[in-house]
Symmetry: D2
Subunit: 114 residues, 4 copies
């Protein structure tokens, strides 16, 4: 089958989420530094091709609950709440990462022709 | 538009390449250890859902040419030559990473219904 | 105070453990692929300067216990059991990562003049 | 030989630099997002134990020069200019990462009893 613009739009969306997760998971973080990490992650991914919009939220409650005796923790997949819009030619793909059923899941929320 | 199995197949393929790249780029490597890194990368990605097959080759010539005075270098994107087959429901997506026109590009090679 | 060879030996040992941890934590892993990841991690770190010896073991029981419904997990700090010998000039530093008191701790085990 | 507080101070300093390098190298970056990445890196490392102070600067000229046709690049070791002060008991260790002689070097700048 021929590869379509829609395929490429969805493929690019997957690349961005895989990249985000494996680049930043493991970063030391605390409640005080969560905001700067959110901002850096969203800005970092936003410079990649076809990223129209991205929002990254780190779950403050999970960060609090996993603090070590040293007062910090590491970014873990379940802490990530991500929404991103990838635009490739006339297709916009809305994708996300969210913690569901015990896992940090990546999924396609919406797909539209614009 | 409704998200189809084909969309999910392609999305999952993108996730795997983004993950591979950002997890392992930066790993110290030398000509002698390239093979164990290739094997670990391909096995690591192969445990993720929907990965039917994956081959990872690291460019020995580039590794040689970028060796530091200390006799090693770090895995860089252009050194990666990856082929992977992702299977989601009845769709198989063949994707890859290859160095073209000065960049490590990720692309869909083939898409088929099986 | 002047920086001594002993200081540099211990400094280099710390660099290697920090690098190992943050390069490889997050890698997808399963009981079947743990061995190839252990080998790749130890070989990757061993190419860096001053590494005389390194052994990396991944805790199979923890890997088993943290498997997702998809049959894999990600390498986490507590799964790491590392022993390394760093040699700088006439100093050998034996360092390690081990899971103690709920944390993956990095520590100096021994320091000797050779 | 017994492990001293001075050894532990220097060891902890090494851990922080190795962690910083291998956590964040590979992050997508552009001239516009360099500042948020600098801030996130310095805040992320600053939550770890014994970090008294840290400054992270990313070389804007190198970022500009390595921009791809897509208008971004990835954080590479040579772009890092880091100064950090690690304090362990009565020892302060000043360490850094800087690009010298073609390599991103990590080194101890100063060591003092306070």
């Amino acid at each position: 089958m021929s590869v379509t613009a829609r395929d490429n739009a969805v493929f690019e969306a997957g690349i961005k989420l895989g990249a985000l997760y494996h680049q930043f998971v493991g970063s030391p973080v605390s409640p005080k530094t969560a905001e700067s990490l959110e901002k850096a992650i969203s800005q970092s991914i936003s410079v990649q091709p076809y990223v129209k919009h991205i929002t990254v939220r780190l779950d403050r409650k999970m960060i609090e609950e996993s603090l070590s005796a040293y007062g910090y923790t590491e970014l873990k997949g379940p802490m990530l709440d991500v929404d991103a819009v990838i635009k490739y030619e006339k297709y916009e793909v809305v994708v996300g990462i969210a913690y569901k059923d015990g896992y940090p899941l990546m999924f396609i929320k919406d797909l539209r022709e614009v």
